[in-house]
């Protein structure tokens, strides 16, 4: 138990690399998915549309975590904190200051970017399990901070705030839910495309170099500190926008909606979708939205246990998440084509 000798460790990267080619779905598959996303709401009831909107919103949150962890290799169990900040920002701006809901999004994004960037600074000195602990602390603190008495005039304290649901603009003939869905879809696509381009760019490569081997990256002249904090910032910003959208769609914000359970759910979404694989974000999001419901319908008393078993089965069969399934499909199709 002496501290005299330093342990020399040659580290294998904790987060495995996703090859650049495989970073998105092929053009054909992307178009099909896009098509489905555009057409589906026209065929289903409002409640399903609402669920689909939440699917996209949580998908954004998972995407943000994918950029942070899969992209720059930094762990975070604290995304719920940024989500909450985004949600409350929109809620307060809309209800107290009558800001148009669309405008609240970039404000929320920028604010959360700043928060994330600032949080990234002390986080620079931490990594792996230590960073996980720090982000965990952030996540557990957030609901408590939101309940603080002196913030109550703005946050509404324990009861939270009710948010007004916006109507479709220009008198378009669609329900509020449908309009919000397409609005969210547009933003999601924009952020998704932006993120893919980010990861493919020089900056993206710098991030991934940092993820794979921080010391080597710094030796190559990459400003590790800057990129890592930027990654936190970008990730927080996107999560904040997701939170804002969430607040608008759910019409309600309250401290206990943004507990550590949300952070854990987003993390699980990332793993199930495939770490670092941006298209997987929506699969992960579907998992965290629908599987708990399935578990509850199987057994109300043991819903947690059923969820745990289902989660375990999924990661046992596909340890690399949905990306593994996609690769498998791709290889099977390729084999078909050969014959």
């Amino acid at each position: 138990m002496s501290a005299a000798v330093e342990e020399v460790v040659t580290e294998t990267p904790a987060v495995e690399a996703v090859p650049k080619r495989a970073m998105t779905l092929g053009a054909g598959t992307s178009l099909i998915v896009l098509g489905l996303l555009i057409v589906a709401p026209l065929l289903v009831k409002n409640f399903i549309i609402f669920q689909m909107t939440m699917l996209l919103i949580y998908g954004l949150a998972v995407l943000a975590l994918n950029i942070l962890t899969g992209g720059s290799g930094q762990f975070s169990l604290g995304q719920s904190a940024f989500y909450a900040v985004g949600a409350y920002t929109s809620a307060i701006l809309m209800e107290t200051y009558n800001v148009n809901y669309v405008l609240t999004l970039p404000i929320s994004g920028l604010l959360c970017f700043a928060v994330g960037f600032l949080f990234g600074q002390p986080a620079l000195r931490l990594s792996g399990v230590y960073l996980a602990l720090a982000t965990f602390a952030l996540a557990t603190a957030m609901p408590q901070l939101l309940k603080l008495n002196f913030l109550e005039p703005w946050t509404g304290g324990v009861q939270g705030l009710v948010v007004t649901k916006p109507d479709a603009p220009f008198g378009l003939p669609m329900s509020q839910d449908m309009w919000l869905y397409y609005f969210t879809l547009a933003i999601t696509i924009a952020i998704y495309v932006g993120s893919v381009n980010l990861l493919r760019s020089r900056s993206g490569r710098a991030l991934m170099a940092i993820r794979d081997n921080e010391i080597a990256a710094s030796a190559m002249g990459i400003n590790v500190a800057l990129y890592k904090t930027l990654a936190f910032g970008v990730s927080a910003g996107i999560t904040g926008i997701a939170g804002s959208l969430g607040a608008i769609v759910v019409q309600f914000v309250a401290p206990d909606s943004y507990t550590i359970n949300l952070a854990i759910a987003i993390f699980l979404g990332m793993v199930v979708g495939g770490v670092g694989w941006l298209p997987g974000s929506i699969v992960g999001s579907a998992f965290i939205i629908f599987v708990p419901n399935v578990a509850e319908s199987v057994s109300k008393g043991l819903s947690g246990a059923v969820f745990g078993v289902l989660l375990f089965l999924v990661i046992f069969v596909v340890p690399h998440g949905a990306r593994q399934v996609a690769i498998f499909c791709q290889q099977t199709v390729a084999k078909f084509r050969k014959h």
Binding site: A3, E7, T140, A141, K147, L302, V309, P319
Partner: protein, 292 residues
């Protein structure tokens, strides 16, 4: 000044809880190189088992021994069934595995024993310890048992063959295999031991925090924090870390204005993280030199 000393003493006695948990955390970290998020739940479940045995009329110490034995076996079983298959999976996937285990155990405990709080007996009594109003005999007993476990672990690792083999397997698995050690079973053994230590922690903690399925969450976080503070490779560090965390928590609650019960946890964590920023390997940990 007297308030300060009292708070320190109070902190040490709550710290014994965290020290206990931290020992289990370090134990498993030594074996598998990560933190098991379900450690607390396993401890909680074991504590419920011991409670159930006592409900059926089994005397305290017999229940204690049976529970430890059961926990040891269960720890090994969980490792063999759930985590050995995941051994080659990426770390984040394994973390998801821990979360799954957490969910399964927590939910099962809730179903079997429901969520109402139950009283849990202590073999040490709850009289004031040596006349002090701040430490009861039970809390002194906790500190005593924790120190005994620490001593036991120290002897195990330093002076037994199996302990040496486990250290080797944790430190350099490939080299360990090259001297003939079955590293896979060393991991299982580590799980068993961690589960047993966790069970002891749970049984000691239950009289203070009362027995219910969610009793361990806060304790586990503090246990992690304590282990990390002490240096994840050092059992001594874990125990010292536990006491320090207990003290931090009490002092923060007493002296920082506006901090009610709810913010104690994040504040304590924030303090610990500040220490880590200065000393990244923890207080007693080995500095890790990373070779590129």
């Amino acid at each position: 000044m007297e308030l300060f000393t009292n708070q320190i003493l109070a902190g040490i006695s709550t710290g014994a809880i965290y020290a206990c948990m931290a020992l289990a955390v370090v134990m498993i970290y030594q074996a598998i190189d990560h933190l098991n998020f379900a450690q607390g739940e396993m401890a909680m479940f074991s504590t419920f088992i011991s409670w159930q045995l006592m409900q059926w009329g089994v005397p305290y110490w017999v229940a204690f021994v049976l529970t430890i034995a059961f926990s040891f076996a269960a720890g090994i079983a969980i490792e063999r069934v759930m985590f050995r298959p995941l051994a080659k999976a990426p770390i984040l996937t394994q973390v998801a595995g821990f979360i799954a285990l957490y969910s399964i155990i927590n939910s099962s405990a809730g179903l079997i024993w429901d969520f109402t709080i139950k009283q849990y007996p202590t073999p040490f009594g709850s009289a004031p310890f040596l006349g002090s109003q701040l430490i009861s005999t039970h809390q002194a007993g906790m500190v005593g048992v924790t120190l005994l476990m620490l001593l036991g672990l120290y002897f195990f690792f330093q002076y037994t063959r199996v302990g040496l083999a486990m250290r080797a397997a944790a430190s350099l698995p490939e080299s360990a295999r090259l001297v003939g050690i079955n590293t896979s079973w060393m991991v299982a053994l580590g799980w068993g031991m961690a589960a047993a230590i966790g069970a002891v922690a749970g049984i000691l903690i239950a009289p203070v925090v009362f027995l219910e399925p969610n009793m361990m969450l806060g304790v586990l976080i503090y246990g992690f924090a304590a282990a990390v503070l002490g240096g994840l490779t050092s059992p001594l560090g874990a125990v010292v870390g536990g006491f320090l965390v207990g003290i931090f928590e009490n002092l923060a609650g007493t002296y920082i204005p506006g901090i009610g019960n709810e913010l104690k946890l994040p504040i304590a964590l924030a303090l610990i993280i500040s220490v880590l920023v200065v000393k990244p390997a923890g207080l007693f940990g080995r500095a890790i030199v990373k070779r590129v």
